[in-house]
């Protein structure tokens, strides 16, 4: 009788231990999923040619001024007014109160000519969709299917696709109001 009781005790102990272990593992698994950023792998085939951004950036290449070996002050700090980059006045304004949101989230700290993904991979300014797509997943999906964004060049072939920063200001991406072209009207004949 005592033997059976002991057996049952040992069994329950074992089961509890097993449950605890499995819980721990499951937790780590969950965390592992959260930590993996949603990125686009560079190997993925895109149907259209992407229009290059670098020829249109006024001050590209950045290493003409910034030494690529120059060490970047990695202390998170608010953006200072910079006379050399006057056009950069705001920075994702919706996120301006978030202290962890700053230059280094997107710009590589050592190589100024590159952007940086959350996976530490350095990418070209021409691949902005991979950077923006880390947070804006549904938009990236629409962009790949040409529901969001603009494809030019032709409907049959020679398709060229604009990337995010062709239309959106990378530092202030929300679209602004514009003045429309005046409505065509019947002018009074003189």
């Amino acid at each position: 009788m005592i033997l059976i009781m002991q057996m049952i005790k040992i069994c329950t102990m074992l089961m509890i231990v097993l449950i605890i272990i499995s819980c721990l593992f499951f937790n780590t698994f969950l965390h592992a999923q959260e930590d993996t950023p949603a990125t686009v792998s560079s190997q993925e085939e895109l149907p259209n040619e992407i229009i290059k951004r670098t020829p249109k950036i006024e001050m590209y290449r950045c290493d003409e001024c910034h030494d690529s070996e120059e060490s970047f002050n990695s202390k998170i700090r608010p953006m200072a007014k910079d006379k050399d980059h006057e056009s950069i006045t705001t920075f994702h304004p919706e996120k301006k109160d978030d202290p962890n949101f700053w230059c280094n989230n997107c710009h590589a700290s050592k190589n100024y000519n590159k952007l940086i993904l959350q996976s530490e991979e350095k990418i070209s300014f021409n691949e902005s969709y991979r950077l923006c797509g880390q947070c804006h997943g549904p938009t990236l999906k629409d962009w790949k299917n040409n529901i969001h964004g603009k494809v030019v060049g032709g409907w049959l072939n020679n398709k060229k696709q604009h990337s995010c920063t062709s239309c959106h200001n990378a530092h202030d991406p929300k679209m602004k109001q514009v003045d429309p072209i005046p409505e065509p009207t019947r002018s009074k004949k003189s």
């Binding site: 629409d142 299917n145 040409n146 529901i147 969001h148 964004g149 603009k150 494809v151 030019v152 060049g153 032709g154 409907w155 049959l156 072939n157 020679n158 604009h162 239309c167 679209m175 109001q177 514009v178 003045d179 429309p180 072209i181 005046p182 409505e183 065509p184 009207t185 019947r186 002018s187």
Partner: protein, 309 residues
């Protein structure tokens, strides 16, 4: 029922085209033509030449006829507008049916498409094939939309609905035309033979989208803005007294280019492609998005789809 009607319609059209049309103004026209040819052929800019008067319907033209007619139009344009143009006649591609999709969430009413359309299609600058309606959020009553909006766009609480020819698969305008001067081509584009049009404006009244425009006066186009790439059935300079409309820029799209309005749109709201190709952008949009057409209840079966995304 519909097939019956369309069959009857087709037969009627075919019969119409086969008939040697007796012109009521035969003698009068002949006399006028001769008179003008004899007395003042150069002075009257809009007078019909002998060749023009006896010109056949587009579908009856032989390649030689077309060559002669296009040369004549090119010469006339050079005389009247002092611009060298090239008249082309691109036929529909096999296995292609065009569809337009427009993302209403993206359109911000900037009217860039309107401007581009005027320049591409050599229209009089007093109107455009595209009308952008400013609409109240939360409603879809076309009659409450207005084209007369000013100031910075997009405005709070409004959305913008560009309307142009829907290139219906069951076009009421084609049925209304008493002389078969307008018809639907194989790739779905509804075209007009401006030289066959008698200017009765029945089609304009039949169109539920107000897509057609009648030239009450000779179109005035700034000479330096004339687009020299002209299609016989699309953007060649129209005479006074005929009806015209959007043709999905067929002189561009039938050679694989995109319509001018799409290229001008800065928001990327406009999508164009071949619906018969399942890999095309428009096929994907129609498959995955909640698309709709204007005045669906009229059974006009438009090729112009709208969606919010």
């Amino acid at each position: 029922m519909t097939t019956d009607r369309s069959k009857r319609n087709k037969l009627f059209l075919e019969k119409k085209l086969e008939e040697k049309i007796e012109r009521r103004t035969f003698l009068k026209g002949l006399a006028t033509g001769l008179g003008l040819a004899l007395f003042s052929p150069e002075k009257t800019a809009n007078a019909l030449s002998f060749d023009e008067f006896w010109q056949k319907h587009y579908k009856e033209l032989t390649p030689e006829d077309k060559k002669r007619i296009f040369e004549r139009i090119e010469k006339q344009t050079l005389e009247r507008h002092h611009t060298e143009v090239k008249i082309s006649d691109h036929r529909p591609m096999d296995g292609v049916e065009f569809v337009y999709c427009l993302n209403l969430s993206k359109c911000n009413g900037n009217r860039k498409c309107v401007e581009a359309c005027q320049k591409e299609n050599n229209t009089d600058r007093s109107f455009s094939y595209i009308k952008v309606l400013e609409m109240e959020n939360g409603g879809f009553n076309l009659e409450k939309g207005t084209t007369h909006y000013l100031g910075p766009v997009p405005k709070e609480g409004k959305f913008y609905l560009p309307v142009q020819c829907n290139q219906c698969d069951n076009p009421p305008c084609v049925k209304a035309c008493p002389v078969a001067a307008t018809w639907k081509e194989k790739d779905g584009i509804v075209v007009i033979d401006y030289d066959w049009c008698i200017g009765c404006r029945y089609c304009q009244a039949a169109c539920p989208y107000e897509a057609r425009h009648f030239n009450f006066r000779t179109p005035e186009i700034p000479e330096n803005e004339i687009n020299p790439d002209q299609g016989y059935l699309s953007n060649r300079i129209r005479p006074r007294g005929v009806v015209e409309k959007c043709t999905f820029c067929l002189h561009r799209t039938r050679v694989g280019k995109l319509p001018a309005c799409l290229e001008a749109c800065p928001t990327g709201a406009r999508k164009f492609g071949n619906i018969l190709d399942p890999e095309s952008d428009v096929a994907k949009i129609i498959k995955n998005e909640r698309v709709f057409v204007l005045k669906e209840e009229l059974n006009t079966l438009p090729r112009f789809y709208y969606f919010f995304s």
